[in-house]
């Protein structure tokens, strides 16, 4: 399911003394089935932009098209509700949104809001909880008894239970330990493989290089660069100038380059780096 932004601008608190513009003429397309990464410095408008993806914010001008629904500045709440089902958003620190008595009820909350029956919602909830790695004996526990990492998994299961066709992730691994981070990114990768369009907002260039196929760079509310990670990370000067940096593999390749090793194209993942070095070792 494709998402298309057409000249979207957004202004916070328009016509007040506190007016501030957060997005300027955003034209962006998220292709069906893609894994899109959205990167930018803090305050570049990433969060504002992702709230447009499921109509939590309506554009001040321009419009957003999700599948066959157009979100316009004057769209009515009823007309955009289906968008929320199609586009599931995992906000930063999603564990703060848990509220129900049991883990299972909390996960089943989402689908029930979209008219799914209680039994069906709970069945989906069980399935998704197992998918994110929560074992059955925790289903009837209070979400507040769980550890931070488990709470986050439950919160993510709560979004997945709505069976969205687009999954938006706002720094999903922030504050997790390295192992949990890798596990979680692998989970998202497998969900993406099952046909869910994924949009990832992150500061971690390694994750962008490892998982994304399209990349957008946002700065001060404007899209300044678009392309595949492989293309964008070639321009090391640009990425460094925008305080985003490049993946570790690319940094290492740069150090080799300083010592006289030439690369046709800078590797961006560890696998590519290994391959490039092996080639050098074999041929010269």
């Amino acid at each position: 399911m494709a998402i298309h932004f057409d000249k979207v601008t957004y202004t916070y608190q328009p016509n007040t003394p506190f007016e501030s513009r957060a997005l300027f003429d955003i034209d962006m397309t998220v292709a069906d089935g893609s894994f899109t990464a959205l990167v930018g410095h803090t305050g570049s408008g990433k969060s504002t932009l992702l709230q447009h993806l499921n109509a939590l914010l309506l554009p001040t001008s321009g419009n957003v098209t999700v599948d066959d629904i157009t979100i316009k500045p004057d769209s009515k709440a009823k007309a955009i509700k289906p968008v929320r089902k199609k586009v599931g958003v995992v906000f930063q620190f999603p564990e703060t949104q848990l509220f129900d008595e049991t883990v299972l009820k909390d996960v089943a909350f989402g689908p029930q809001n979209f008219g799914v029956s209680k039994e069906e919602a709970e069945n989906t909830a069980r399935e998704k909880l197992r998918l994110v790695g929560i074992s059955d004996e925790l289903f009837e526990r209070s979400p507040f008894e769980l550890s931070g990492g488990q709470m986050r998994r439950v919160a993510i299961a709560g979004i997945l239970a709505m069976k969205p066709s687009v999954l938006v992730l706002d720094e999903p691994t922030a504050g997790l330990d390295p192992k949990a981070r890798i596990d979680m990114m692998r989970l998202f990768e497998s969900i993406h493989q099952s046909g869910v369009t994924t949009i990832l907002v992150t500061h971690l260039m390694d994750d962008v290089a490892d998982y994304a196929d399209t990349m957008y760079v946002l700065e001060k509310g404007r899209l300044v660069k678009t392309g595949t990670p492989a293309q964008l990370f070639q321009d090391v000067a640009f990425m460094t100038a925008h305080q985003l940096g490049v993946p570790k593999a690319t940094q290492f390749a740069l150090l080799l380059q300083e010592r006289g090793q030439h690369f046709e194209q800078l590797p961006i993942t560890r696998a590519e780096l290994v391959k490039a070095i092996t080639e050098v070792a074999n041929h010269g």
Binding site: T16, L56, K81, F91, Q97, G110, I159
Partner: protein, 266 residues
């Protein structure tokens, strides 16, 4: 929630900004009392001039004050209309059945309206020009004499400054949680009363939970930085009473005196 002007602070460096919060608080308190002395055009005239002088001195655009008035407009109109309907006496302007609009009622309604506007303008002036923490400091030192009768002044001041500091944070949390629940298909402000009340639960519970957690973290962080209560603490922000503060209080005394004199003369 973003549209709320009351309680916001707008940085600036005007005369009013630089004044001591204690004098401003005291003046605000006195002003509310003084406003009841005014009961005719001259009285309200004097107070209006006084208020607008303050607004002008703060160098903050009048539009902020008018915006601050907006959320209260319903309450003001409600009171004004009732005042108009239930005041008797004076010449009848027009009459429908039992409802009489008289010169007195119009006059009274106008005075009530002015009273509201002036009080709101003054309190907006106070909050727009005083950073919340300074305000809390002002209240704490202002209450200091109450220590003698065992009122825990330091604790009140501390709780006040912590609450003030966390208002914006909690507001951000609320918006964040509301957005997260909306993304899960929650509708707010729809359906009948029961549904509306029920829809508050998914916001309130996470908000309480995060407040408890924050309180815990904050208490630990404060203890580990050596906080042991109010005794023997020194102060970083020291309030300074200046000449203009005395001038403000004197001018209020003058206004009050003028109003009393005018009421006697009539």
């Amino acid at each position: 929630m973003d549209k709320l002007i009351i309680g916001r602070y707008i940085p600036g460096n005007s005369l009013v900004h630089r004044m001591d919060p204690r004098s401003k608080l005291l003046a605000m308190f006195a002003f509310v009392l003084i406003i009841f002395l005014a009961n005719d055009v001259v009285g309200y005239g004097i107070l209006t001039v006084f208020t607008f002088l303050g607004v002008a001195l703060s160098r903050i655009s009048i539009s902020y004050f008018l915006k601050g008035l907006r959320p209260m407009l319903g309450l003001i109109l409600f009171t004004v209309i009732f005042q108009m309907l239930f005041t008797t006496g004076g010449d009848v302007l027009f009459q429908i059945w039992l409802i009489k609009i008289t010169t007195y009622s119009v006059q009274n309604a106008a005075y009530i309206f002015m009273r509201f506007v002036l009080i709101i303008f003054m309190s907006t002036l106070l909050t727009l020009t005083t950073p919340p923490l300074t305000l809390a400091d002002g209240i704490e030192t202002g209450l200091a004499p109450l220590k003698k009768i065992k009122v825990p002044v330091h604790e009140i001041g501390l709780m006040l400054s912590i609450s003030l500091r966390f208002i914006p944070t909690l507001m951000d949390d609320t918006t964040m949680i509301m957005n997260a629940q909306k993304a899960r298909g929650m509708d707010f402000g729809e359906g009948n009363l029961v549904q509306k009340v029920k829809s508050v639960i998914p916001i309130l519970i996470p908000l309480f939970v995060s407040s408890f957690r924050r309180a815990d973290d904050l208490a630990i962080a404060m203890e580990s930085r050596g906080y042991q209560g109010g005794d023997g603490r020194s102060k970083y922000r020291i309030l300074k009473w200046q000449r203009f503060d005395t001038l403000l209080l004197l001018s209020l005394v003058a206004v009050a005196a003028a109003l009393i004199a005018w009421n006697r003369l009539k």
